[in-house]
Amino acid sequence: MDFELTDDQIALQEGLRSFCSGRFPIEVVRAVEATGGIDRDRWRELADMGTFALRLAEDAGGVGLGTADAVLAFEELGRALVPGPLVWTHLAAGLVDGAATGEVVVTGIERDDASGVIEFPATADVLLILDTDGAWRVDVADLALAPLDPPLDPLTPVARLTAPLPQGAKVLDAGPAAELRLTGAALTAGQLLGISTATTDLAVAFAKERVQFDRPIGQFQALKHLMADMLTRSEVARGAVYAAGVTVDDPEVGPVARAVAAAKLTAGEAAVENTKTCVQVHGGMGYTWEVDAHLQLKRAYVLDAAFGGREHWAEAMADLAFT
């Protein structure tokens, strides 16, 4: 047992981190608000980095890495708030032509999702539908949609289905579709983890700079303790998120669904609680559109709800662990 990143994993993590800071600085991220949440050119750059083809076998044109690696990549994407249906397109690689190469943008939904909310309605090409029988594809252009405006997250535009989902064309059977759902939850947990640490860094940096009562506010114990809790939540979630990636790849080390439940739940908790705290640490500035804290907060809520929210996973965990 050696539950620490390998040198290759560290290289992957650092590669993506510098890619994101070079190609997705916050100005670029914010600018996609005007283009339906996606910038096609940058989307292809993400594909070139292997974001979507990461777990696809090499002979299928992929990078041939595992979920443990993918989780690290998605942590970086989350940290940088890279917008778009990243996890769905990644899951669609190999199932939907063009997803792996970034030509086709894939969004997704659970068939029994009563909200009928579709993400990236104006920019995604294909909708992937998961249900108990498998995974299905539908062209977004064929959906009957009504606008929903404004969205919670300005960088995650949404619309609402006005007619029942079409059945679609089957791309996957029930078993692998269920695995896909767990992988999606694990990768989303990676993004949430990235947000939870980025928002901690943002709060700490601000608290060292901002002066009130003639001292940096980071000297006030009330704030120190809030930020200590941010770090604690993130680090505990990190254990679960990495373990989920490893377990998806190597189910002999433990039950996959349980590992994913722990990851998605604790990462969601860390991201939502930490982003709220970051706003609080910023005071009035935290309430503005200008400071990035609100973008982190909003994305945290978006991703916390994706692939099963905390309520879902808490109940699932009780069933998985105790029945």
Binding site: E4, K208, P216, Q219, E235, L265, E269, A318
Partner: protein
């Protein structure tokens, strides 16, 4: 990242598990909580059994008679012993986990040769004389004073919350040897507990028993040869003592917490309300599911800490994060038990069919100490904020 146990890890686990299965049923019944001599015998008897089977000092290096196990084996050891309900380390706690390792790191060869084998065999019980009425979180402000008189230090002052003092042979004692410097005026002594002038007054704890005591020193003459390290260098040595709490220090508490969550589920299945069991209530299942998720995450983090310690000699984010998280999780789960039990929580004996209700009530009371002992949660948060996040110090 790899979570697989090696062949030798699995073999170690199997061997330990079968030894525990053989030996645990042969243990005598647990003594009454307030029968301290009997408790000492029971705990040290277990230590002796561990020693004879080669499991004593699992984390101690081989040169000091320990098993010198890898960190992964230590994790397995703590997991298996706690799961199997093996006796808690009990009165051996200070000797095995604090004083022994400190002696190994800082004491003279004679001191090592004298104490370490005895601690391992369960022949010596230690207590920790650090805290004082005026010096708890601010330990370095301690004032129990010692002055040199020939070959002796003459110690006068008071210690408090000293766990197991009434059955201890030795005390790791911090004394003030220089009043003009706060941190550089402290000395670390090995004080025999049978010296004239020591008076022990047991304190009754929140659970009604007397795990800890006040210890009064009235011109107690401690030989200078009992000093560890240099005079006035005791604060540094105390920091060494504290550092042994990191790494594997809290692992058995984590396994215990995990076990308690399962027991809470069993309790919830026994509690009936409105014709159904409490476990049928989805709100409760979610709440317990959330705690289990947090527990699993904490356990995964511990494995990461161990991997980092194995590689760089320093555990990842350290003990403060672990302690903060598990202590509050444990308290929350005993709170849920109190809410579940409603009026059945009025007794510390099991009420009717509610097997285990009494122990949950007791754990609710006992766990109030988890966020106080070994550095309060507020102090842990200060440490995380200042040492990990680099936030500016208050002073």
């Amino acid at each position: 990242m790899d979570l697989r146990y090696s062949e030798s890890d699995l073999a170690f686990r199997a061997e330990l598990r079968s030894w525990l299965a053989d030996v645990l049923p042969t243990l005598p019944p647990k003594p009454a909580p307030d029968d301290w001599p009997a408790r000492r015998d029971w705990d040290t008897g277990w230590q002796r059994q561990l020693f004879e089977a080669g499991y004593a000092g699992i984390n101690w290096p081989k040169e000091y008679g320990g098993r010198g196990a890898t960190l992964t084996e230590q994790l397995i050891y703590l997991e298996e012993t706690t799961r199997a309900g093996a006796p808690y380390i009990g009165v051996n706690f200070v000797g095995m986990l604090h004083a022994g390792p400190t002696v190994m790191a800082e004491a003279s060869e004679e001191q090592k040769a004298f104490h370490l084998p005895r601690i391992l065999r369960g022949e010596e019980v230690w207590c920790q004389g650090f805290s004082e009425p005026g010096a708890g979180s601010d330990l370095a402000s301690l004032s129990c004073k010692a002055f040199r008189d020939g070959d002796h230090y003459v110690v006068t002052g008071q210690k408090i919350w000293t766990s197991f003092a009434q059955v201890a042979d030795w005390c790791e004692l911090l004394v003030r040897t220089d009043a003009s410097s706060k941190h550089k005026g402290i000395t670390w002594l090995i004080c025999p507990m049978d010296l004239p002038g020591i008076e022990i007054r047991p304190l009754r704890t929140i659970v009604g028993s007397s795990e800890f005591s006040e210890v009064f020193f009235d011109e107690v003459r401690v030989p200078v040869s009992q000093r560890v390290g240099d005079e006035n260098d005791g604060w540094r040595i105390a920091m060494v003592t504290f550092s042994f709490e990191r790494g594997t220090g809290f692992i058995s508490d984590l396994v215990e917490t995990d076990k308690m969550i399962s027991e809470l589920v069993e309790l919830a299945k026994r509690v009936t309300r409105k014709g159904a069991t409490a476990w049928d209530d989805v709100a409760l299942r979610r709440e317990i599911g959330q705690m289990q998720a947090q527990m699993d995450a904490l356990w995964a983090m511990t494995k990461r800490n161990l991997a980092q310690a194995e590689r760089n000699g320093v555990p990842g984010v350290g003990g403060s994060v672990v302690k903060l998280y598990y202590s509050e999780l444990f308290q929350r789960l005993t709170d849920v038990a109190m809410r579940l039990l409603e009026r059945a929580s009025l007794s510390r004996d099991d009420v009717g069919q509610l097997v285990g209700s009494g122990s949950f009530v007791e754990e609710r009371l006992r766990s109030t100490s988890f966020t106080i002992a070994a550095g309060t949660s507020q102090i842990q948060r200060n440490i995380v904020a200042e040492r990990i996040l680099g936030l500016p110090k208050d002073r």
